[in-house]
Symmetry: C2
Subunit: 157 residues, 2 copies
DNA sequence: CTGTTAATGAAAATGATTTTCATTAAATAG
DNA sequence: CTATTTAATGAAAATCATTTTCATTAACAG
């Protein structure tokens, strides 16, 4: 089998192995769900989605795997203020659209927006550079989120 | 007593009353601590600070009061990813410096920075306006946070 | 195939926050 | 000022997401 041909195993196997992690059925399943779902899954969401097919994968493993993935930078751990963490696949090899979030504080609806992203990212990069220098930080990540009321909840007032 | 002379009661009494809340000793104490402390207190931090003088104010009341203040917009509820909420006095009548946060993911140190704030705020306002229109949201708030390793933790690698 | 050790599941533990409920005390009417 | 109404409170119990413990299983190197 020529290089780059191991399609059936998913592109992440390499990265995973390189970091000294074993490839298990549970991890495979979790990565698979995450890579195929559109964002914002909680640990339990993932557990529920996986369970029918992989009934032997427990919630504990989901939490542990998400922690690993988050540390590897393959997954973003998000907080929308509803008391449970949400997880979002970071980027596939194809380069997934970068986006930020707009959260309704009433019904917890979340909008992924890409509008203005270019300007935001540009400013962020500058700011990042400045902060790194001034405060001697090695910055790995950032969040921008807007909070408010969505159309529905705003009307209910 | 002439209008505007009730200094001893703190400037927030008006706002508080207007919203139909009663003025209690506990709330007074919590507001007082918050307004005089430099940011990032957890509910328990506040409870501990208050306890010596107001030993009859319980942790439950601290949580309840923070919730009220947060809804009134007098306090920001922050999440730095360490599993407990932090609270920060929003703005006194004098207009407190607006700032954002830089968080060390290792030791949880938080830097309040005001550098680049003007550019950030300007961009944010534009973005906000655009998002409100496009997604029909009424935006009340935003967060920007950078995550990384502080000088110390970066060295420990 | 076999041994080493990371990964796992189930159950228990943790810990921040919330709820319950009987009691207390602000605000307000008299 | 006193009585009345009802929001606010404390203590203890409940909740609930996440983590830990520990005995068992299974990746993978040799």
């Amino acid at each position: 089998m020529a290089r780059g041909e191991c399609r059936r195993q998913g592109w992440w196997h390499g990265k995973f192995r390189d970091c000294g992690y074993r490839l298990t059925l549970g991890r495979e399943a979790i990565l698979d769900i995450l890579s195929r779902s559109e964002g914002h899954l909680s640990a339990e969401d993932i557990y529920v989605k996986i369970h029918p097919r992989y009934s032997n994968v427990g919630l504990t493993t989901v939490y542990r795997t998400l922690d690993v993935l988050s540390n590897l930078g393959m997954v973003y751990k998000l907080d929308f203020g509803d008391g449970r963490a949400r997880y979002e696949f970071a980027e596939g090899p194809k380069g997934v659209h970068h986006h930020h979030h707009l959260v309704c504080t009433q019904c917890n609806k979340v909008v992924d927006y890409t509008d203005f992203i270019d300007e935001e990212v540009e400013l962020l990069q500058q700011t990042e550079k400045g902060l790194e220098k001034k405060y001697n930080f090695k910055i790995n990540n950032h969040i921008i989120q807007f909070y408010g009321l969505c159309e529905k909840c705003s009307g209910k007032k």
